[in-house]
């Protein structure tokens, strides 16, 4: 076992991990942060997306030992300081950007990463950026719409209601 220490959602946390412990498992099982979901466990579905040192990664395909010393942000840290939903989360609610909700944490974290590097993405850019996030309810239209709305763009022209 190796001791790892990292900053998760602004708090310093540490724990003992095996070499094979995935970052997703450390967050869920050691830290109780079960908002990060493990869907496919093969790095295809994106339900486990978190930010490590500011960029989106699939936490089921990164070792906890490699995140030692890193800054990690998960869905639990996304809400505003007063507990209200942040602009992306609120847009997902307003535009029905989730159905069963399983993929939603990864979708929100990918959307946050996208808007950080591209504050006004086109519909096409959003769809391309979400290539690694799968919604098995196929709720993509409203997810794209929510992300466009979160970026302050007019969404009346987006196809699905």
């Amino acid at each position: 076992m190796t001791k790892v220490t990292m900053t998760v959602n602004g708090k310093t946390v540490s724990g003992d991990v095996e070499g094979r412990t995935l970052l997703a498992s450390f967050l869920r099982d050691d830290q109780g942060l079960t908002g990060t979901h493990i869907g496919c466990d093969t790095s295809q579905c994106g339900a486990c997306v978190v930010h490590v040192d500011g960029v989106a990664v699939k936490s089921c395909t990164m070792l906890a030992a490699e995140a030692d010393g890193a800054t990690v942000d998960t869905i639990e840290g996304q809400a505003n300081a007063d507990g209200s939903l942040n602009v992306i989360q609120q847009a997902f609610q307003d535009h029905h950007g989730l159905q069963c909700g399983f993929c939603t944490p990864g979708m929100v974290m990918s959307a946050a990463a996208l808007l950080k590097e591209n504050p006004k993405p086109s519909e096409q850019e959003i769809r391309e950026y979400l290539e690694g996030n799968i919604c098995r309810c196929t709720g993509y239209h409203n997810i794209v719409k929510a992300i466009m709305a979160a970026s302050g763009q007019d969404v009346t022209a987006i196809a699905a209601e």
Binding site: T42, A56, A65, E66, D68, A113, G132
Partner: protein
């Protein structure tokens, strides 16, 4: 996964030392290796993470030569732009989260027969720089998942001569998004090189007939009359050998037409 130890060297020298551990395995971004370990297809005693090796990070240009550190991520190459066709290729590997972890050294060391980087390295006549030597791309790729790397040898950098014009065209397998067939065309002062990934049971290869035709006349029309043999092409549920052979010519033509 079977359990293993994780070593995190900060220098190439420490990485080489760590790789001397019996059954040690280098870990780049882990975007292929970690799924492989989950399936218990490998059981290393120790993973030597290369992420913390500063000498293996980043991109430097020297005239018409681009040096990319072995631990440089696809996202960094995609954002670079010094070699536009290479950056474009990197920007379409996997998805954004994968590109933030996966590395050029990891991709070339794995040499997946449908990976994108091997086509760029071979078509560019790149030099693979390792902990013990420099290997020309023509000598480096030795078949599906097979390379010239020796036990414990690590790719520390890749040197790309920047071409006059180049382009990469990938026909994606719609489920995996890997290349069903990908063709990288690069035009240099001394001739054109064409490398094909995704198509052959032997892994990445050069289409020398097209190179000769394009060196004489760099236009898609120069490929008319050429054909690619279906012998030894990959055949699976996504496409027959004949289909892949046909796609090689189609994608080569598109790459030439789009080259800039």
């Amino acid at each position: 996964m079977y359990n293993f130890d994780v070593e995190k060297p900060g220098t190439v020298a420490d990485a080489v030392a760590a790789m001397r551990t019996e059954d040690a395995q280098a870990l780049g971004g882990g975007q292929t290796l970690i799924p492989t370990l989950k399936q218990r297809l490998a059981s290393p005693s120790t993973l030597v993470s290369l992420k913390g090796v500063a000498e293996m990070q980043g991109i430097t240009r020297d005239g018409d030569s681009l040096r990319i550190g072995g631990a440089t991520t696809h996202a960094t190459v995609a954002a670079d732009g010094n070699y536009a066709a290479l950056s474009a290729l990197a920007s379409h590997i996997g998805d954004p989260a994968v590109r933030n972890r996966g590395t050029i050294g990891g991709s070339l060391a794995n040499n997946d027969p449908a990976a994108c980087y091997p086509a760029a390295a071979l078509a560019s006549g790149a030099t693979i720089v390792t902990t013990s030597r420099e290997i020309a791309a023509d000598d480096y790729f030795q078949g599906m998942f097979d390379t010239a790397l020796e036990e414990g040898e690590i790719i520390t950098a890749v040197n790309f001569p920047i071409p006059q014009a180049a382009n990469y065209q990938k026909f994606v397998q719609p489920a995996s998004r890997f290349a069903l067939v990908g063709v990288f065309v690069a035009k240099y002062a001394d001739g054109v090189r064409v490398a094909v990934t995704g198509a052959s049971n032997e892994g990445v290869f050069r289409w020398t007939e097209a190179e000769a035709a394009l060196s004489a006349n760099f236009a898609a029309s120069a490929l008319e009359g050429l054909s690619v043999s279906a012998d030894n092409m990959i055949a699976d549920l996504h496409g027959s050998a004949t289909y892949r052979a046909h796609l090689v010519k189609v994608m080569t033509g598109r790459a030439v037409a789009a080259a800039s």
